[in-house]
């Protein structure tokens, strides 16, 4: 874990309210792994006060890439930063996805959840070249077609990509978890499956329910509001079968079956 003054190399709108950011982070590359995140100090003038966490979207040479959605003050200020400016970044933080040796990897992304799954796919694809029988199925869900991100990149990486939108403007009409339930009967016979998911809470809760029912190992990336990001404040806990765990330290990636979900 490092704190660096990182030079911003690229920071531009991808589509709608989504941005891609590239920053020089030489020292962080070695420890970077899918599911880990960086904590960015948005503004030296304390507006906003706390750092903002973003998953590592991918690494290229000495650079770290992030994709983010402008939601509030922090991401708004971040979106106005220009290449050449410097950012104070801490990372890589947290526990990422463990890559399982299975025939079928099913990746499920809700909205912004595609961010870490590209990095994960790159790692899975490296294995795929060793064994052509391995398959990566990517399910991307969003409200409308305008919020579908990275679909082409997943295809380019050799994945079988399926899309769902709430309004049916692209792909399957409905929730991405409904899409999951639809395709599962076709692959479940292969036994050796693993699910990797990232997205909003209700989606992850449903993924956990489905994966537990079908006894498929599932890893999910959870979000909480982070204050310190480094495990010190105990502010970001989630309830698990082994008690509270910190999203920023033991997480953000957890095994789905260990999470105890609140009722609402």
């Amino acid at each position: 874990m490092l704190q660096i003054r990182s030079k911003l190399l690229y920071n531009q709108r991808v589509q709608g309210g989504f941005f891609r950011l590239v920053a020089r982070a030489a020292g962080m590359i070695r420890e970077a792994a899918p599911g880990k995140f960086v904590d960015i100090r948005i503004d030296d003038g304390y507006g906003p006060l706390l750092r903002r966490p973003f998953s590592i979207h991918r690494v290229r040479e000495q650079n770290i890439e992030v994709i983010y959605e402008v939601l509030g003050k922090g991401t708004e200020v971040l979106s106005r930063k220009k290449p050449g400016e410097y950012l104070d970044i801490i990372g890589p933080l947290g526990n990422g996805y463990s890559i399982l040796d299975v025939r079928y990897s099913i990746l499920i992304a809700g909205g912004m959840g595609v961010a870490p799954l590209i990095f994960l796919t790159e790692k899975l694809a490296e294995r795929k070249t060793q064994n052509a029988k391995r398959k990566i199925i990517v399910l991307i869900g969003a409200k409308t077609k305008n919020e579908i991100l990275c679909a082409k990149e997943f295809t380019r990486l050799g994945c079988d990509v399926k899309i769902s939108t709430d309004d049916g403007s692209r792909g399957f009409k409905g929730k991405v978890t409904d899409l999951l339930k639809k395709i599962l009967p076709f692959v479940i016979c292969h036994k050796r499956l693993a699910i990797y998911a990232c997205g909003p809470r209700p989606m992850l809760k449903e993924v956990s329910r489905v994966s537990t029912t079908y006894k498929i190992p599932a890893q999910i990336s959870l979000e909480e509001h982070l204050a310190c990001g480094i495990g010190a404040c105990l502010g970001c806990v989630v309830n698990t079968k082994e008690g509270f765990k910190r999203v920023c330290k033991e997480g953000p990636v957890f095994n789905a079956e260990e999470i105890i979900w609140p009722d609402c």
């Binding site: 874990m1 490092l2 704190q3 100090r41 304390y46 906003p48 006060l49 706390l50 750092r51 104070d88 801490i90 909480e224 509001h225 982070l226 204050a227 310190c228 990001g229 480094i230 495990g231 010190a232 404040c233 105990l234 502010g235 970001c236 806990v237 989630v238 309830n239 008690g243 509270f244």
Partner: protein, 312 residues
């Protein structure tokens, strides 16, 4: 021209404890220090105050526990900690390896008598440099009040703990009172060595879309720059009423905000929320204080304490 810069004296005394510099880290904002070792040389710190420890382990409050507010944040951690014995066995030995004084913050769940048990146990441990009594923790109620909201309860508690230990004792006071000076005076007359002020302010924040509080326990403690003017005023008020040292905290985020506290009357300062924003901020503050003293030709940090000038 002078070739050699004056080396101002940074060391301060808090009770029997001598600190090499007056900058410590506030309870609950520095974990058990190991989280910060990648970012700064922890040995540089004047002292480390641990997360508050209770006799029995405490799992803490339900999430969400934190949120950001204008120039501040709310927290409602609920004193999550592994309990006294695990702390002594697992955390303390590692903390002691750092080589800077470790101040152990303690609290009690429902029975104030636990403060005495905790202090008696910690009294015997060499690696404990001082004990901070967190009597401003929102989870401990005394007639539905915090101990530090009642001068008499404060007096009685400090008196009882004083009998249990010879170590330096610090009382951490709550700003959620009408007159903080009467609490400080009560603690002083019961034999406390120093007071820490302030703990967080009771506060809340609402999400208008869900009409829910952003924090599971509904109300929570406010910290960060937003509370600094309040904290500073309280340090100033208390400074005029007591003789013992004040450890000032609340919204210290850089050198100048730390210096404000000394001028208002603090002997030492503690950095809290700012550790989350910049994990090596304490190092920067220590360096900055030294520079300021050199620049102002002040040869000891003690001379800055309470040096507020009259307006006019």
């Amino acid at each position: 021209m002078r070739s050699l810069k004056m080396q101002p004296k940074l060391s301060v005394n808090i009770g029997k404890l001598k600190l090499k510099n007056p900058v410590m880290v506030a309870s609950g904002t520095f974990g058990y220090a190991e989280e910060f070792q990648d970012f700064m040389n922890l040995k540089e710190l004047g002292a480390i105050v641990t997360k508050t420890i209770t006799l029995k382990p405490k799992i803490g409050n339900a999430p969400g526990r934190t949120c950001e507010t204008p120039q501040g944040m709310l927290n409602s951690i609920g004193l999550e900690n592994p309990g006294l014995e695990v702390f002594i066995q697992e955390k303390l030995p590692r903390l002691n390896k750092i080589g800077t004084p470790i101040i152990v913050s303690i609290s009690a769940l429902d029975d104030p008598g636990e403060f005495v048990i905790l202090s008696r146990r910690l009294d015997k441990i060499k690696g404990v440099a001082a004990i901070e009594l967190n009597i401003s923790c929102p989870n401990l109620t005394h007639n539905s009040k915090l101990i530090s909201q009642d001068p008499k309860a404060t007096y009685n508690l400090v008196k009882a703990v004083r009998r249990a230990t010879k170590k330096t004792l610090i009382a951490k006071l709550s700003p959620n009172v009408t007159d903080i000076t009467e609490i400080a005076i009560a603690a002083e007359s019961a034999g406390i060595d120093a007071v820490s002020l302030i703990n967080t302010l009771n506060a809340m924040s609402i999400d208008i879309d869900t009409r829910k509080s952003r924090i599971a326990t509904v109300t929570a403690g406010l910290s960060g720059p937003a509370i600094r003017p309040v904290a500073l005023r309280m340090v100033w008020d208390v400074y005029q009423k007591i003789k013992i040292p004040i450890i000032g905290m609340g919204g210290i985020i850089d050198v100048s905000s730390a210096l404000e506290f000394f001028i208002a009357g603090a002997t030492a300062v503690a950095v809290g929320t700012a550790n989350f924003i910049n994990p090596k901020i304490s190092h920067e503050i220590i360096m900055g204080i030294k520079k300021y003293l050199q620049k102002s030709n002040i040869n000891s940090i003690n001379k800055l304490t309470g040096s507020l000038k009259c307006n006019q």
